[in-house]
Amino acid sequence: MEGPIRNIVVYVDGTEEAITAAQYAVCLAKATGAQLHALYVINTRALNDLVKARIFLDTEEQEYHRDLETDADRYLNHVDKMARRKGVEARLDKRSGTVHQEIKKKIEEIDADLLIIGELSHIRSRRDEFYHETERAMRLVQCSVLMVKDEERVWDLYDAIPE
């Protein structure tokens, strides 16, 4: 009988919290045998908004876009290494667009059972409920969502898996 979790998507956005989430996702994939997918979304929506608001010059937008491409590769490669170290295969996916919409699309495309995200900040404003991309994705996706907390415990869990 198949387990309850077959496809896991972990969203990696370049924060420490997302890296902890990825570590936990590796642990969970190892324990359940689920396929792990790591997703990074280059937030081109925000870049466009900044150009429209004239906070960014066109040249600045191009520079930041390149930076984000580099960040995406770096963070996805980091997740890949973390997964390989524990004998888990991670399928990497780099996309561009509006973050919460791309996360939703990914979940639907692979019929994911579980979305794993990093811990959200303790203090939240009403504004964040409307605009924080990870928060929006959490509310929008059809599958279950797991928010990873307690970084130290996750490190211990990850370290405990034989390499």
Binding site: T15, A46, D49, I55, I123, R127
Partner: protein, 150 residues
């Protein structure tokens, strides 16, 4: 990194004392130094002026968002200043600037940097919110308005 996590009264100045663009940038950077969030004042100042040299970050309707990538800060750092009388920041519409959001970010945190700037852009689209902010009597009141703690 949400804006709410960056805004604390110790990095807000109400009212700003400066009368020129360079002085405003210095005054806001000094806030960050005093709050223990910035060590290398000069490097951060040079990075901000280099960005301003490419085009003013003084936008329309009194908003200015001086920003730069710099490794002088370990994480995204924001200072805010309010100048009810307005300061010439060579804004796009030629009007004096009244609300200043100065942001510094390390070069390897472009994603969170963009999201934080984007949040400022959204926030300042509300003219009524900007009017309320402009009427804030002190840093605590401004911080409260920014974080909407209700």
């Amino acid at each position: 990194m949400a804006l709410i996590d960056l805004i604390k009264p110790e990095v807000i100045k109400v009212p700003l004392e400066s009368k020129s663009k360079e002085a405003v940038i210095r005054e806001l950077l000094q806030l960050l130094v005093d709050a223990g969030r910035l060590n290398d004042f000069d490097t951060a100042y040079d990075a901000l002026l280099a960005r301003e040299a490419k085009g003013s970050t003084g936008l329309e309707d009194g908003i200015a968002v001086p920003h730069a990538k710099t490794d002088t800060v370990p994480s995204i750092t924001l200072a805010m200043g309010i100048a009810p009388d307005g300061i010439d920041f060579q804004a796009l519409d030629g009007k004096p600037s009244t609300l200043f959001f100065l942001m510094l970010a390390p070069p390897d945190q472009s994603g969170p940097h963009i999201e934080a700037l984007s949040e400022i852009a959204r926030l300042t689209q509300s003219k009524s919110f900007c009017r309320m902010l402009l009427r804030a009597q002190d840093a605590e009141e401004a911080a409260e308005l920014m974080t909407e703690e209700d």
